[in-house]
């Protein structure tokens, strides 16, 4: 297993404000798979994503990424882990506002010694003509594509996507999902996508449903629907 999550528990707060968000989650994801994590608001899906990404800690349990027990890493080691293995895509893009599209991608190109070719990335993501524009000059979809390119430029083994289409309209969302599919096929990047959009579950290899901090469903799709055919 590329990703091994074993009985992880996570809680917040104390006393009256104590909340147990993850109540013993165990799952595993193979390398190269796209996995959708679905669930209602407050179910713990983003928390699960953040813990796998090393952005949040757990109370107990184990998380192994490519056999690295990330729960035992210190802050510096976690930074290195994220630098070497992960890419992130967020709901609200989080691009650097006063850098151009290309420069935003180059921000992460700097982090790796073996980046992918930036022009190819621009091409793949349809950003070649927009490369000198600033985020404020782009549409939501274009900004998200830029964010994806930024995340991918360092050729991460694992791409974590937190509501990548949450701020986009239908058309843009489809385009993003098609891109995700394309990248997965081209680069074999393992992807975890947290989403409210249940239609996505048809295009992914694995579906994990979380409810009240526990996995309610965890299955593999035998037949994948192309992203271009998704309807919601």
């Amino acid at each position: 297993m590329f990703i091994e999550v074993t009985d992880i528990k996570k809680s917040y707060g104390e006393g009256g404000s104590y909340v147990q968000v993850l109540k013993g989650v165990t799952t595993g994801i193979e390398k190269g798979q796209i996995c959708a994590i679905l669930g209602p608001s407050g179910s713990g899906k983003s928390t699960l994503l953040n813990t796998i990404g090393g952005l949040d800690t757990i109370d107990s349990g184990s998380i192994k990424i490519s056999n690295i027990e990330i729960t035992k890493l210190n802050a510096k080691e976690l930074s290195l882990y994220r630098r070497n293995y992960l890419g992130f895509i967020f709901q609200f893009y989080n691009l650097v506002p006063n850098l151009t599209v290309k420069e935003n991608i180059q921000v992460c190109e700097y982090l790796t010694k073996k980046p992918l070719d930036i022009n190819e990335m621009l091409e793949i993501l349809g950003l070649t003509e927009h490369q000198k524009k600033f985020p404020s000059q782009l549409s939501g979809g274009q900004q998200q594509r830029c964010a994806i390119a930024r995340a991918l430029i360092k050729n991460p083994e694992l791409l974590l996507c937190d509501e990548p289409t949450g701020a986009l309209d239908y058309q843009a969302s489809r385009e993003i999902l098609m891109l995700i599919e394309k990248i997965n096929k081209k680069f074999g990047t393992t992807m975890l996508i947290v989403t409210h959009n249940t239609a996505i579950k048809e295009m992914v290899h694995r579906v994990i449903k979380i409810k009240d901090g526990q996995i309610s469903e965890d299955y593999a799709n035998k037949v994948l629907k192309p992203a271009s055919q998704l309807e919601w």
């Binding site: 990404g53 992960l86 992130f88 506002p97 006063n98 850098l99």
Partner: protein, 962 residues
């Protein structure tokens, strides 16, 4: 790192903000570096000049010039001396020019133009005097009613502060200066004027200390017959007269006692003889008395016999009458009348009868006379006897008395002989006493002053040093403030891009990389500004130094670039910025990536404060203020520093104004004459006083400062405080109290460095007297304290100018001169005051504008939101700019009094080198002006930020995601 490309763009986008900060840094550093640098330039120039022109180690003055041997002796001991005699002569526009002869080895003249005077009728003038009076080389000037040609213009190191007296508060460059003539010319002046100060400069070669030199000078004798000064001669004669009178008086007394002795000896002899005589007399009278007693004893017998004889004759006469048949009976009492009657009866008829009757009568008369006579005789004998008894008694008494007298006179004689012997011893001892104590070794030394205590030499550097230290301290504070302000703006950026930073952390950026990135901009700004500011500072040295150059007298300055100032101007701001920004930004970037992603902000407990039932508008404002507490606190401190500078500026102005006014109002007399050689009789229209100069320890600098102690009496109409009290009680001026920190009841010690003596006093009262540093006491007590005669005085005060021989006068102080000198301070400090006030207003405006704008920027989302809700511009301004008013009001209310307290504490240090006590005074209207300035700046900033508020569009709310 590609991320760094955003730095220039960030700078361009916020050029106003960063430009203003850079401007502040450049301006502040420019000021500070120019002030500190000008001090260094002054110090360097002075030190260089002092070395080149052989500045003295000290100077001293004497009554009689040293002999060549004495000077050689001193040189052998280790003190090279050079005569620096001078005369003060009247010159242009009632000014006084102190004329020296050219110097050879010590305190030599640094010429700026022309050449030294080498002929009679030539003179070199001090440069400021020449400039102020429009005199150039080649022109002519009248000095002491003689015309001189100006051959050169220059300066000397021992008169860099060209004050007439070392104790003068300020120099008046128009009214007093110095000039140098050739030796021949000076000798002519010496011959013509006896008011010469025999001043010497000295340099020590290390083999002799200052105190050893002073001791030696005190011991040096001088030939009092060679005193040329007629007034000094008067004094010598007066002193010698006293000694002669004493000696003569003792001699007269000795002669007198000798005569007394001789006289009493004669008297003794006489009294002895008198006693002998009285003894003889007593014996004689005793014998007389005895004899008379015997006679007296016979008196009755004699009288009876005489009476019997007379009765017998009467009987015979009766018998004869009976015989001749005349029927008369005569008695002793009637015989004369009877016989006369008979004779009358007979009358010519019987001449024989008549003859017989007459013969009878005659016989009876004679017998009666005999009888009466004998009676009288015996009565006399009896009286004589009584008298002789008394006489004898008296003679006995006389004898006794004369014996006593003789004894007494004997004693007297013996006593006067002893007195005479004692007088001889007394005379001998008086002689010894006169020889021992009145053989005056006239101390030739009048004054002794080390260079380090000489205001003429030291005040230029010490004045500049105070400005420098103050500027450097102020600079550090301002740079720290600006560095912190920059960090606040960086924090604002980090907050704004919090999610982006979280995303970068997520991608694998480490804190070190981001910290380095976010520190680049502030460090770049500070570095560039610091360099520019330092360059500007050095460039402004010329401007800054103008006042110093215009006031103090030294050759043209040489620029220096002291390394420490380069470090201070460039490195120190960078270090401060590094430190401050590192601490602040590091703290911000230490948040967990997830918190950054979620834009979680630390909620201060203050922000959650329960505002109870407060109205909405105020509640909104307070929440806004609390949310921007960091910015508001920064603004508070920024405004505080600006107000501190403003208070400082106004205090300087107020302090000098108060000083000028007080000098004019506190001094009642118009003229004060300090006399070197007082007259025996003072002019009628002058009031006498006694003045001495002592030193007191100045706790502010650890050094010493001259104070004037003045003895006055109750009749002095120029002072209205009572002088009764203990002998050592003094009344000090408020100037002294302020300068030295004395209070009523304090025990103070003043020193006479010339005599190496300390005097202890107790402060009885503090009175208003702004001019100089004065301490007052009863003149009688003062005379006693300083060992002067009962009538001694050396100071005259008057309303009008007095006609006093110039040679007697040490110095004349007039109220007009004092006020003019005080006003000079305005000229010197005006530029500084304007600069400080300008800097404070700029700082105030920039700090307020930048921070308020930043706080508005941070609230763009909420402002946009409430615009969408329908709030109009006025209401939005009220909500967002109203909070600024709270901060400005609070900082003003706190900063003004606190600043005043701070300035009150540090101001005495800043004027520690001024020979007057000056408080940091602010006139009431200054406070009003300050508040007006603050409100005006606030209004302008409010207007500008208001315009920015207007520009926030409603669509921000749609773009921004929180």
């Amino acid at each position: 790192m590609i991320l760094n490309k955003r730095i220039i763009r960030e700078l361009k986008e916020n050029w106003v903000r960063y430009g203003a900060l850079a401007f502040l840094i450049i301006f502040s550093l420019g000021l500070v570096v120019s002030m500190a640098g000008s001090t260094d330039v002054v110090n360097y120039t002075i030190d260089k000049n002092n070395k080149k022109n052989q500045l003295e180690d000290g100077e001293f003055s004497v009554y009689v010039p040293l002999t060549e041997n004495q000077q050689l002796e001193l040189e052998k001991m280790g003190a090279k001396t050079e005569a620096a005699f001078y005369v003060d002569l009247p010159s242009l526009e009632k000014s006084v020019l102190r004329v020296f002869k050219n110097r050879n080895n010590i305190n030599t003249i640094a010429l700026e133009e022309g050449r030294l005077a080498d002929q009679i009728g030539e003179i070199v003038l001090e440069k400021h005097y020449a400039e102020n009076h429009g005199i150039r080389v080649g022109q002519s000037i009248e000095v002491g009613q003689k015309n001189y040609q100006v051959t050169g213009i220059g300066t000397v190191p021992d008169y860099s502060n060209v004050v007439q007296n070392v104790s003068d508060v300020l120099a008046d460059l128009n009214q007093f200066s110095i000039g140098f003539v050739a030796e021949a010319e000076f000798n002519q002046l010496l011959a013509g004027d006896t008011n010469v100060e025999y001043n010497y400069s000295y340099k020590l070669d290390g083999n002799l200390t200052t105190s050893e030199l002073k001791e030696k000078l005190v011991d040096l004798d001088f030939d009092k017959t060679k005193v040329a000064n007629k007034y000094m001669n008067e004094i010598i004669n007066t002193i010698e007269k006293g000694k002669n009178d004493l000696s003569g008086g003792v001699n007269d007394l000795a002669d007198g006692t000798q005569k007394l002795t001789n006289g009493t000896s004669s008297l003794k002899q006489g009294s002895n003889e008198l006693a002998d005589g009285a003894s003889s007399l007593a014996n004689g009278t005793d014998q007389l008395s005895s004899g008379l007693e015997e006679l007296t004893n016979s008196n009755a017998t004699l009288n009876k016999a005489a009476a019997d004889i007379f009765q017998g004759m009467i009987a015979q006469a009766n018998s004869e009458f009976e015989n001749i048949g005349i029927p008369v009976t005569v008695t002793g009492d009637n015989y004369s009348s009877v016989i006369d009657s008979l004779i009358k009866t007979i009358d010519g008829s019987d001449a024989n009868a008549v003859i017989a009757l007459k013969t009878m009568k005659a016989q009876l008369d004679s017998y009666k006379a005999f009888k009466d006579g004998l009676r009288a005789y015996t009565n006399g004998v009896e009286s004589a006897y009584s008298g002789s008894v008394e006489l004898s008694a008296g003679a006995d008494g006389l004898y006794q008395g004369s014996e006593d007298l003789a004894n007494g006179v004997n004693t007297l004689s013996n006593g006067s002989a002893e007195l005479n012997r004692g007088m001889g011893e007394f005379k001998s001892q008086i002689s010894n006493f006169i020889n021992d104590n009145m053989d005056y070794q006239y101390v030739n030394l009048i004054t002794f002053l080390e260079a380090g205590d000489n205001q003429r030499i030291t005040s230029c550097k010490s004045d500049a040093a105070i400005n420098k230290n103050s500027a450097l301290i102020a600079g550090v504070i301002i740079i720290a403030l600006i560095a912190y302000m920059i960090s606040v703006f960086v924090i604002h950026t980090i907050d704004k891009e919090s999610a982006v930073i979280g995303a970068l952390y997520s991608m694998g950026y480490v804190k070190k990389e981001l910290l380095r990135h976010f520190m680049i901009l502030p460090i770049l700004i500070v570095t560039a500004s610091a360099m520019l500011g330092t360059v500007l500072g050095f460039a402004l040295i010329g401007e800054n130094i103008k006042e110093n150059v215009a006031y103090y007298s030294y050759p043209g300055y040489s620029m220096v670039f002291p390394p420490y100032l380069l470090i201070y101007g460039v490195l120190l701001p960078i270090l401060i910025a590094l430190l401050v920004n590192y601490m602040v930004i590091n703290n911000k970037l230490s948040l967990a990536p997830l918190k950054l992603l979620r834009r979680e902000k630390k909620q201060h407990q203050l922000a959650n404060i329960d505002l109870k039932e407060m109205g909405f508008i105020n509640r909104y404002r307070i929440r806004q203020l609390l949310r921007e507490i960091r910015g508001n606190i920064t603004m508070f401190f920024g405004l505080f520093i600006a107000i501190l500078l403003m208070v400082f500026g106004f205090s300087i102005y107020g302090s000098i104004s108060a000083y000028v006014n007080n000098v004019a109002s506190d001094v009642e007399y118009n003229y004060l004459y300090l006399l070197k050689y007082p007259m025996e009789t003072a002019p009628n229209d002058a009031t006498k006083a006694y003045t001495e100069s002592l030193t007191a320890d100045l706790y502010l600098t650890g050094g010493e400062m001259d104070v004037t102690i003045q003895g006055i009496d109750d009749e002095n109409s120029y002072f209205d405080f009572p002088l009764d009290g203990e002998k050592n009680e003094v009344i000090i001026s408020d100037s002294v109290a302020n300068k030295f920190g004395y209070k009523v009841g304090d025990e103070i010690t003043l020193s006479d460095n010339l005599e190496d003596r300390n005097y202890n006093f107790r402060v009885k009262e503090v009175v208003n007297f702004a001019s100089g540093l004065y301490i007052f006491m009863d003149i009688k007590d003062m005379r006693e304290l300083f060992g002067q005669e009962d009538y001694y005085y050396n100071t005259l005060m008057s309303d009008q100018e007095l006609d006093i021989e110039v040679g007697r006068i040490a110095t004349v102080i007039t109220v007009n001169k004092m006020v003019a000198a005080a006003r000079q301070m305005f000229t010197m400090m005006y530029g500084l005051v304007i600069t400080i006030l300008g800097a404070s207003v700029l700082l105030f405006a920039i700090v307020m504008y930048l921070l308020v704008k930043m706080m508005i920027d941070k609230s763009t989302f909420s402002i946009s939101l409430i615009k969408v809700f329908g709030y109009n511009e006025r209401e939005i301004k009220k909500l967002y700019l109203g909070t600024t008013f709270y901060t400005v009001a609070l900082s003003t209310l706190i900063a003004i009094p606190v600043s005043k307290m701070i300035i009150n504490q540090i101001y005495p240090y800043m004027v520690s080198n001024v020979s007057a006590g000056m408080n940091a005074t602010m006139a009431p209207q200054s406070y009003l002006i300050m508040v007006a300035i603050i409100l005006s700046v606030y209004a302008i900033v409010n207007y500008l930020v208001g315009r920015h508020l207007k520009k926030i569009s409603l669509v921000e709310i749609l773009k921004e995601r929180e």
